[in-house]
C-alpha cells in the first residue's frame, strides 16, 4: 500500500516548469549584456585591430586623418548596427510568422519572402536603370509582400490549412521560380551580375552607411510593431475561436502581422540580401528558454537574433581573414543542421 502511494507520487506528472517573471527579466538582462559584448567584438575585430579608447574618441573627438577612427565611424559601427537591426528584424519576422501561422517551420527565408524581396529588387534594378537605393527598398517590400501572400495563401488552401510541409514546399517552390527569374534577368548584364553575386548570398559587407541610413527607419518601425504583438499572438495560439471569444480581432491581427513581416523581410533583404535560418531557428531557442508566452518570446528573439547574426558575421571575418565569409553562408552552414534537428524531433513544437 505504501509502496503504491510512493509509486504514485513518483509517476505524478511533472508540473510544467514555471518560469518566474523575475527570472525571465534577469535572463533578458544577461542576454542584453551578451549582445553588448558581441557588438563590441564585432566593432573591434577585423583586419585592423582597435581598442575601446579608439572607439570612444572616434565619436567624441573625431580626427578625420586617423585611419582607425574613420574605419570605426564609416565601416565597423554601421556594419554592427546593420547586423543588429537586420538580425532582430529577421528573427522577429520568424517569430511572428510562427505565431500567426501556428507552424513551427515558418520562416521568412524558408517561405520565400526574402527571395521575393530579392527578386523584386533585382528586377527593378535591371529594368529601370539607375534606380535609387531608397526606391529599391520599396520594391523590396512589394516583392516580400507578394511572396508572403502567394506562399501563405497557396499553402493554406485545403482542409487542414497550412501544414509545415505544405508551407515549406510552397516556399521552396516559389523561391525556386523567383531564383530562376532573378538569374535570368541578370544574365544579360555582366556588371549587375558582379554586384548581385555578393548580395545574393546575404552579406553585411559593402556600403554600410548609405544602406543603414536608408533602411533603419523601416527596420526600427517593424521591430517596434513586432514587439507589441505578444498579447495578440498569445490569443491566436489558443485557436481562432477562442481568440475571437476573448475579444480579439483575429483578422486585423493577421493583417498587421503579415504587413510587419513583409516590412521586416523586405527591409532586411534590401540591406543584406536573402538570409535564411535566423527567423526559423532563433524563435525556437527563445521558446525553449522562456516557454510559450509570446510576450517573452518576442523580446528574447529580439535579443538573441542579433547575437547569432553578429557572431556568424564575426566568425566569417575571422575564419578566412583577411578576406571574409558572407554572413549568409555562415548561417546557411550553421542553420541547416539546426533545421534538420528540428525536423527530426518527434515532438516538433506544437504551436
Amino acid at each position: 500500500m505504501t509502496a503504491t502511494v510512493q509509486r504514485l507520487q513518483h509517476v505524478e506528472a511533472p508540473t510544467p516548469r514555471h518560469r518566474s517573471t523575475v527570472g525571465l527579466g534577469l535572463g533578458a538582462l544577461v542576454l542584453l549584456g551578451v549582445l553588448a559584448v558581441v557588438m563590441f567584438v564585432s566593432i573591434t575585430i577585423g583586419a585592423r585591430g582597435v581598442g575601446l579608447h579608439t572607439i570612444w574618441t572616434a565619436f567624441t573627438d573625431y580626427d578625420p586623418s586617423s585611419a582607425e577612427q574613420t574605419v570605426i565611424r564609416e565601416l565597423r559601427v554601421p556594419r554592427t548596427l546593420l547586423g543588429l537591426l537586420v538580425g532582430a528584424g529577421l528573427g522577429l519576422a520568424g517569430a511572428l510568422l510562427q505565431g500567426v501561422t501556428r507552424n513551427p517551420l515558418a520562416d521568412p527565408g524558408i517561405m520565400g519572402i526574402n527571395m521575393g524581396a530579392a527578386a523584386g529588387i533585382v528586377v527593378a534594378v535591371m529594368l529601370f536603370d539607375g534606380i535609387s537605393q531608397s526606391t529599391s527598398v520599396w520594391v523590396g517590400f512589394a516583392g516580400a509582400g507578394v511572396a508572403t501572400v502567394v506562399v501563405y495563401g497557396v499553402a493554406s488552401f485545403g482542409r487542414e490549412g497550412a501544414t509545415p510541409v505544405k508551407l515549406a514546399l510552397a516556399g521552396a517552390a516559389v523561391s525556386a521560380s523567383l531564383y530562376s527569374v532573378t538569374t535570368g534577368v541578370t544574365m544579360s548584364d555582366l556588371q549587375a551580375l558582379n554586384e548581385l553575386r555578393f548580395w545574393q548570398v546575404g552579406s553585411l559587407s559593402g556600403r554600410y552607411l548609405p544602406v543603414l541610413s536608408q533602411t533603419w527607419p523601416f527596420l526600427v518601425a517593424g521591430i517596434a510593431v513586432a514587439l507589441l504583438m505578444g498579447r495578440s499572438l498569445n490569443g491566436l495560439a489558443l485557436g481562432d475561436d477562442l481568440a475571437v471569444a476573448l475579444g480579439q480581432r483575429v483578422r486585423l491581427t493577421r493583417v498587421v502581422v503579415f504587413v510587419t513581416v513583409a516590412l521586416l523581410g523586405g527591409a532586411a533583404t534590401a540591406a543584406c540580401g536573402p538570409i535564411v535560418f535566423v527567423g526559423l531557428v532563433v524563435p525556437h531557442i527563445a521558446r525553449a528558454l522562456c516557454g510559450p508566452d509570446y510576450r517573452w518570446i518576442l523580446p528574447y528573439t529580439f535579443l538573441l537574433s542579433p547575437i547569432i547574426l553578429l557572431c556568424a558575421d564575426v566568425l566569417g571575418r575571422v575564419l578566412v581573414s583577411p578576406s571574409e565569409l558572407q554572413v549568409g553562408v555562415v548561417l546557411g552552414v550553421v542553420g541547416a543542421p539546426a533545421f534538420i534537428l528540428l525536423v527530426r524531433r518527434k515532438d516538433l513544437a506544437q504551436l
Binding site: E160, T163, G328
Partner: protein, 347 residues
C-alpha cells in the same frame, strides 16, 4: 463454382479496355509529338531544312555532307540533350512525387539538384578540367546529397514528410554554399557558373550526352518495370509488404534510379528547373496513375524540347533553356499548389 458472365462484369471489363485503349492512344500521341518536336528543333535555324533532310541525315539514311554538318554536328547534340534530359527528368520527377506521396516533391526542391549544382559549380570554378569533371561532379553531388537526405531523414524508416523537410533544409545549405563559391570566383568564371546554374541544353559535351543517352536507354525500361512496385508502395508500407513488396528495398531502388537520372540530366543540361515537377502531374492528368511513367517521360521531353525551341528562336535574344522552363513553370506551379492543396494532397 464457375465464373458467371454478369452484365456488371462485362461493363467493368469494357470500361477497363476502354481505359487501356485511351492510355495507349495518348501515350502514342505523346511519342509522336516528341518525335515531331525532336525533328522540328533540328529543322529550324539560320538555315531551314526540310523534315526529310533532317530525318535522313539524323538516322544516317542519306549522305549529304552539308546537311550532315548542320544536323549531326550543330543541331543533333542540342536536340538529343533536350530529348534525353526531358525523358530522364520526367520519369525521375514522377517517381519522386509518387514515392514521397506529394505532388510537389520534385527533385528540384528536395536538395538533389542543389547538391548537383554545388559540386558542378565548384568543379567549374576550382578545377578547370573541363566538362567531363563537371558532369562527374554533378553526379557525385546528387548522389551524396540524396544519401545525406536519406540518412538524415531515417528514423526506423523513411517518411515522405521527413524526407521532404530534410531535403529543403539541405537545399538551403547548398544554395548558401553555391552562392559563396560563386562570390569568391573570378568574374568570368562566375558568369560561366551562373549560366550553368540556369540550365541550357546547348552546352552539353559529347561525353555527358552519351552517358545521359545510355543511362536513359537502360534505366527508363527498368523504371517502367518497377512502376508496379511504385503502385504498391503508394498503398502504404503495410499494404505494400502484405502484397509481397520489400518496402525499403524497393523504395531505395526507385530513389536511386531517379537520383541517377536527375544527376545525369543535370550534368548534361544543368539544373533545368520545374521540368521534373511539371511533367508528372500533367501525365497523371492525361492517363491516370497506373500507366503514368512512360507518359511522364514523354511529357518531360516535350516540355524541354518546346522550351528549347522558344528559348532559341521565339525570343528576341537567345536565352538559356532554364529561363523558359522557369518562367513557364512558375505560374503552373502556383496553380498546381492551389489545386493539390484544395484536394488535400499537399502534405
Amino acid at each position: 463454382m464457375s465464373i458467371v458472365e454478369t452484365p456488371l462484369r462485362r461493363a467493368v471489363r469494357a470500361q477497363r479496355r476502354a481505359h487501356r485503349a485511351r492510355t495507349t492512344t495518348i501515350t502514342l500521341v505523346l511519342v509522336a509529338v516528341t518525335f515531331a518536336l525532336f525533328v522540328g528543333t533540328m529543322m529550324i535555324g539560320s538555315y531551314v531544312l526540310s523534315p526529310w533532310e533532317v530525318i535522313g541525315s539524323a538516322f544516317r539514311l542519306t549522305d549529304d555532307p552539308s546537311v550532315d554538318f548542320i544536323v549531326l554536328d550543330l543541331r543533333l547534340p542540342t536536340a538529343a540533350t533536350a530529348l534525353g534530359s526531358g525523358l530522364a527528368l520526367g520519369v525521375a520527377g514522377l517517381v519522386f512525387q509518387r514515392l514521397l506521396a506529394n505532388p510537389l516533391a520534385s527533385p528540384d526542391f528536395v536538395g538533389i539538384s542543389g547538391g548537383a549544382s554545388l559540386f558542378a559549380v565548384s568543379a567549374i570554378l576550382f578545377t578547370g578540367w573541363g566538362a567531363v569533371t563537371t558532369s562527374a561532379m554533378a553526379l557525385l553531388g546528387a548522389l551524396l546529397a540524396s544519401i545525406a537526405i536519406y540518412l538524415l531523414a531515417w528514423r526506423g524508416g523513411i517518411t515522405g514528410y521527413r524526407f521532404i523537410l530534410v531535403g529543403i533544409g539541405l537545399s538551403q545549405l547548398f544554395t548558401a554554399l553555391t552562392g559563396y563559391v560563386i562570390a569568391r570566383a573570378d568574374l568570368n568564371d562566375a558568369r560561366e557558373a551562373m549560366t550553368w546554374l540556369v540550365g541550357s541544353v546547348g552546352s552539353a559535351g559529347p561525353f555527358e550526352l552519351r552517358t545521359l543517352l545510355v543511362a536513359v536507354a537502360v534505366l527508363l525500361p527498368v523504371a517502367f518495370v518497377l512502376s508496379r512496385r511504385l503502385g504498391a508502395l503508394e498503398l502504404g508500407d503495410d499494404a505494400a509488404s502484405a502484397l509481397g513488396v520489400r518496402v525499403e528495398r524497393s523504395r531505395l531502388g526507385l530513389l536511386a534510379l531517379s537520383v541517377v537520372l536527375v544527376a545525369l540530366a543535370t550534368a548534361a543540361a544543368g539544373p533545368l528547373s520545374f521540368v521534373a515537377l511539371i511533367a508528372g502531374p500533367i501525365a497523371v492528368r492525361l492517363v491516370g496513375n497506373a500507366a503514368s511513367l512512360p507518359a511522364a517521360a514523354f511529357v518531360g521531353a516535350i516540355i524541354v524540347l518546346t522550351a528549347d525551341l522558344v528559348a532559341q528562336h521565339a525570343l528576341p535574344v537567345a536565352l538559356p533553356t532554364g529561363v523558359v522552363t522557369g518562367a513557364v513553370g512558375a505560374p503552373y506551379l502556383i496553380w498546381l499548389l492551389a489545386t493539390v492543396n484544395r484536394e488535400g494532397r499537399g502534405g
